[in-house]
Subunit: 345 residues, 2 copies
């Protein structure tokens, strides 16, 4: 079968690899019908350490179940399923608490060095707990939106839920990538009154406004902080959704948050240490929350509005490629010619 | 009048100073009847920068209103009052939200260079918003417990409330100082099922057990983390209440917190940067919260159980001094001969 491998910074290749197959009794083999490239795939695309082994890429996909292990009880051949970006047992205390990214048995896809979602097929461990059945056919026009519950919508929604966005909240979203835009959509869905989107790519912030942003701040750093403070009566934002992961975004976050407010991070932090002391978080009783989204936890909730058409998160996809087009898709996302690239293997 | 001033590390003096008096229309002059030395007073006692001007000390006190400015409407001469460790207007959006430490007009006592609570009298700004009337006389046997709602009980309670301690929670309290012990009492009051106290001073941890600790871990660092993990089935604690403020305590906190759990800090951080990335907070969706306690917000709630005798937070005081004894009181707390020193000016 064909699959996407990253060999190093800027070096993505589509190659023939060993066919994925059921290996464990709890596995399912899924033939992938829709997948995509993630903003977080760009982190290794920039800084994959030299000498690393080639890595199978992709962690967001929809596909058709082709085979199941002997222990799989809820899925059968032919089911159309979507996978979250972490696999999980569905039964441990963390899964039951809706924190499948901390599942006692599960992990992220990169724990499986021979599997990836930007490929023709994939072996899915703990299939009963991981996969979520979709009540449509693979040619449904809703496919782009349904694919977002695998990661980007789940992640934006996790940011907003963890941040405690509620009726009347003032929310600032940092980052106009797909996750940032879907954090806007999520904040709107949870009742936020003012949603300030910090981003400087007009085509993206326009989509952000369509998703519910009430204000756009293109300035960054101190200038951006000042602008957000002006827009919030000088007080700052109740909730800040940080969807970037770089230190300047974190600094903007504590610059614009209101005393007693919350910074919810879903951008994978590209730093380990950060300011948390008297002048950044502590003095103003600011809460820092968030983490890898347990997107599996939100699928039941996010499916109906997509099926009804009341939200259209699939609008974040602005390009579609086949497997051959994946390396170009990475380059296009990296150079911001594409917001998010859909893959039909 | 006589007041306590700090001149530098280890250098605390009681001196004759200018009498405090009403200066602004919203001020009250309070004759102090009970006050104390705070664990946080030991931070400058260790590291007050050379060349600093002498600083009036003390921010926790009970006293009798002796004079009021023309705008003060809720207090009159002779009222017995307790003050929180920040003064606040009581009417701005932050005060109304119960975050008086971020009051638009208020501040901490150290913003008033001529005033301190370890003195015979003090000028209290924004007296209507700041002071809380006590329905007892100054010679009440409840005085030590009532004094704790000024800071240490309010702070321990803030840790537990901000951390989301609830029925059945597993809680780890880091620090066996007065705040840590009252964080134990607060966690118990909020229904925590397991309360692990990390501390190595037996006389203090014994009091912690009296306040509700179910386990004591004397080990620190990695050894302590391992012990707490063992006590929590390998998973760690739902909530960690960090009542120290030094980096090793922060490191213990993220070592013992469970995925999806919360670290609530009330120890004044003696660091600005700290680990918050993938391997400390983010990866496990750990929430970091807390800050200076708005103890004013909790007074209405904490007064009744003290009056009823159902909690006895005043047990944290193990020494009483007059003003002359204050310098020795600092030394005794610094060298851990005293847990917390009560002052009767």
């Amino acid at each position: 079968m064909r699959a996407t491998l990253m060999y190093g910074p800027g070096d993505v290749r589509v190659e023939d690899v060993r066919d994925s197959r059921v290996e464990q009794p709890s596995d399912a083999l899924v033939r992938i019908t829709a997948s995509c490239i993630c903003g977080s795939d760009l982190h290794p695309y920039h800084s994959m350490p030299a000498g690393s082994a080639p890595t199978h890429m992709g962690h967001e996909f929809i596909g058709v179940v082709e085979d199941t292990g002997s222990e799989v009880s809820t899925l059968r051949k032919g089911d159309l399923v979507v996978a979250p970006f972490a696999y999980s047992c569905g039964t441990c205390q963390f899964c039951r608490a809706g924190l499948q990214t901390s599942c006692e048995k599960g992990s992220f896809w990169d724990a499986l060095p021979q599997e990836g979602g930007q490929a023709e097929a994939i072996r899915v461990p703990l299939a009963d707990g991981t996969l979520f059945k979709l009540p449509v056919t693979p040619d449904s026009a809703l496919m782009p939106s349904l694919l977002t519950i695998s990661d980007v919508l789940g992640t934006g929604y996790h940011a907003a839920v963890s941040g405690g966005v509620t009726q009347g909240s003032t929310v600032t979203v940092i980052g106009d990538g797909a996750v940032g835009l879907l954090a806007v959509l999520s904040a709107k869905r949870l009742g936020a009154e003012q949603i300030i989107l910090m981003g400087r790519h007009t085509s993206r912030t326009d989509l952000g406004c369509e998703f519910g942003a009430t204000d756009v701040v293109a300035e960054r750093g101190e200038e951006g902080v000042t602008k957000v403070r002006e827009l919030t009566g000088g007080f700052g934002s109740h909730v800040v959704l940080e969807a970037v992961g770089h230190m300047p975004a974190y600094e903007q976050a504590f610059g614009v948050v209101r005393p007693g407010g919350t910074i919810s991070r879903v951008g994978v932090p590209q730093y380990e240490e950060a300011p948390v002391g008297m002048t950044s978080l502590f003095g103003g009783n600011v809460t820092l929350t968030g983490g890898p989204a347990p997107s599996r936890a939100y699928m039941e909730e996010l499916l109906p509005p997509i099926l009804e058409g009341s939200i259209e998160p699939g609008k974040v996809f602005d390009a579609t490629v086949g497997l051959d087009g994946v390396p170009q898709g990475y380059a296009d996302m990296d150079e911001r010619r594409s917001l998010k690239v859909l893959l039909k293997p």
